[in-house]
Point group: C3
Chain length 131, copies 3
């Protein structure tokens, strides 16, 4: 018998980008529906709140793509995909609710994420992996 601990495989990847100006973060309904309290608290204290919210928004889209589940349109619960900094400041993904259930069903144990924004554009890359 053997335990193949640490063996990891990619199950899907996701990339997404948006013009920062096109993410409706001045709309409180959009923000409340799509971001967790912890995300809102974090983004609100960043030098550029708009860029932080936009980067996280495209991050959620990239994670969603990496999970490889069918899109549910505007009703997708992006709040179930939470992206917060770890102790080094690097963004990390926590899944909740239906997003977690979908990941569990596919054996996805971790989603790696990276975010970036220029003056105008936010971009994110996600990689879903199983172990």
């Amino acid at each position: 018998s053997q335990i193949m601990a640490g063996v990891e495989g990619t199950t899907g990847v996701g990339v997404d980008q948006e013009l920062i100006s096109s993410v409706p973060i001045s709309n409180p309904t959009f923000v409340a529906r799509n971001f967790t309290d912890a995300e809102i608290a974090y983004c609100s204290t960043q030098p550029s709140s708009a860029a932080s919210f936009a980067a996280r928004w495209v991050g959620k889209e990239a994670v969603f793509k990496s999970l490889g589940v069918s899109s549910k349109g505007a009703g997708a619960a992006m709040k179930d995909i939470e992206i917060l900094p770890d102790e080094t400041g690097a963004p990390t993904v926590a899944l909740h609710g239906e997003a977690k259930a979908a990941a569990d069903a596919k054996g996805i144990t971790k989603v790696h994420i990276s975010l970036s924004h220029s003056e105008t554009t936010a971009i994110a890359f996600a990689q879903a992996t199983s172990s």
Copy 2:
């Protein structure tokens, strides 16, 4: 003896982007040389054909980079890299001809792909893996 089924490793990654306006999709020769019939049929029915063709075009470039083979210049057979939606709508890569031969020679068994476009820019990420 053991079988390490499911063990997967990354052999290469690829990223590519283009301004949608700079991809010559109104040139029928460019389209016919670089896209398969199934790709043309799919893109032609999308809300924005131009964005769909452009995203697929940068997708082919990203896949080509992920394969880690020498560039052959303008003569590269991008038609051998086919990107079509699966049953969930997610883009998937099928390799044909020389692209498939190159992948086989390197032990590449799957290429993950994700595509995105904003109003102006198409971007793609690819990850080639062996099992």
Copy 3:
């Protein structure tokens, strides 16, 4: 006993982008501090030096993110992350100094990289892996 040769797992990913015009490559201090002699020699002979330097610059940032170490601000030794073409022309990462020490401490054995630039924007993706 067994040897799990070739088993590889992702330890982190990184994405970065910049407007090519915002990378201060006409500043010789910036170039000398952040690029190795081999990188400078390579970029200087490319059709667009500015785009080559900018793509490499965002590549270094993407690699840094993929390593998952704490940011050290403007003092980070980006020169320790060297990106040069291999024999096929594909960009490859070599780590030196503190970047190498940080990677070794995390068991990172290879960092995959891909670079791209449009007329205006340079983008890079990096994936750090352990074996």
